[in-house]
Amino acid sequence: MEFDVQSLKDCFFSGIQYLGVTVKISLVSIIFGTILALIVALVRFYKVPVLSQLFALFVTVYRGIPIMLIILIGHLMYVMHFDTVVKALHLSVKIKDVDIVLLGYIVMTVGVIPSISETFRGALKSIDKTQYEACYSIGLTTTQSLRRVILPQMFPVAFPSYINNILGVIKGVPLLSSVGIMEVMQGSLLPCSVSYSYLEGYAAAALIYFMLITLILNVAKYIEKNLNRYRVIRKNTK
């Protein structure tokens, strides 16, 4: 068994074609996950009676389940119950007409909520209590103070760990290949099934992921530099 550069090249280009799927799953789950996580974080932060306890339970339990298991169980549920649910909604779709990627969207979206909501909650807590009081004292409503004062300050605080969460999502996507979703890793393994030499395929997948994540990290570094301008930074007293 020798390392074949030509084969690596084939695998690389085959994998690149599926980059769109990985990016699409990541983007969809990050966008919806962020919105939902923000709601969860705000509900828990303001201690809305019943919902806050419910969300706390959900976050605690869900954080304890590995993403791999969520995918496996989600897949089983999806296969068994899809038709029933669709029939209940009076839609005329069958499971065989629907791309399995849909499962990827759902699983990853729900999967990122706990970690991102914890990030947001931590960031909300890091903002000085005096800021909230100042908002109320000049007569801003809760929504106004959130939108104009609290959230703009919260995002820069949350940003570094938010980026970590995003990386977590992207690194979680190849796990979806275990339920048959074609993404970068499976894509770069395609040419290998001819030669039975899988090494090049994994190396190519590693290369693509490495490039993607380096890109994201560099963009994140650039954004982080420009983010801190809205934030009130107290004088650092060591």
């Binding site: 389940i65 169980i73 275990s178 990290l217």
Partner: protein, 231 residues
């Protein structure tokens, strides 16, 4: 399939699966210990800024941060036997699959824990070391008496969440078909044609142990206090 989920199946799966819980715990523990040892060296090199090795460690960290766990695991699983045979002429194809999993976890966690330790050591203000030197402490004394106790305090929460993450990531040994908790769940599922019960058992086990680890580290964090106030 008449009944999709049965409680009988759920309870029947518990003893079958719990047999393999020690395997998963052992994988986690061995990976954690060895990775921590590696991480200490990585952190040491990065804090002291050892010329060439610093760059090597930076590259190592960057690569490990850029690769998904699965890809590292599968690369180790498929590439390591090939590499070892080429260099040492030893055939390790027949080794237990868990060995490869442990190696992959060590590689990944070594970088992450190394970064946690480095951040913790560097979080102690430099003036403190300087103050220690000024009263005549040696470098060793300064590190062990002044810097280390304070940095441990900083490192505990991050180390705990890292451990939880590592523990949860042991599920991806599923991808190489190793025989631990989730591999066993898969075989039990295959034998009974009911996959959901064993998977749910595994989920419950993981939830309980993850929460226990989190509580343990919260407890440690609250216990570990010094006279010096942080205000």
């Amino acid at each position: 399939m008449s009944s999709y989920f049965t409680w009988e199946g759920f309870f029947a799966a518990i003893p079958l699966l719990l047999e393999y819980l020690p395997v998963t715990l052992r994988v986690t523990f061995i990976s954690l210990v060895v990775a921590t040892i590696i991480a200490v060296f990585v952190a040491l090199i990065r804090v002291r800024r050892v010329p060439v090795l610093n760059m090597v460690c930076k590259c190592y960290l960057h690569i490990m941060r850029g690769l998904p766990y699965v890809v590292i695991l599968l690369l180790v699983y498929y590439y390591l036997p090939f590499l070892v045979r080429k260099i040492f002429a030893v055939d390790i194809n027949r080794w237990d699959k868990l060995v490869f999993a442990v190696i992959a976890f060590i590689l990944h966690e070594g970088a992450y824990i190394g970064e946690i330790l480095r951040a913790a050591v560097e979080s102690v203000p430099k003036v403190q070391s300087e103050a220690a030197y000024s009263v005549g402490m040696s470098e060793m004394q300064t590190f062990f008496r002044i810097v280390l106790p304070q940095s441990v305090k900083v490192a505990i929460p991050a180390y705990g969440s890292n451990l939880v993450e590592l523990f949860q990531n042991t599920t991806i040994t599923f991808m190489i078909g190793a025989m631990d908790l989730i591999g066993r769940a898969n075989t039990v599922g295959g034998a009974t044609m009911h996959y959901i019960e064993p998977y749910l058992v595994v989920a419950v086990v993981y939830v309980i142990i993850s929460i226990l680890i989190e509580l343990l580290f919260k407890f440690l964090d609250s216990k570990y206090k010094f006279g010096a106030s942080t205000v």
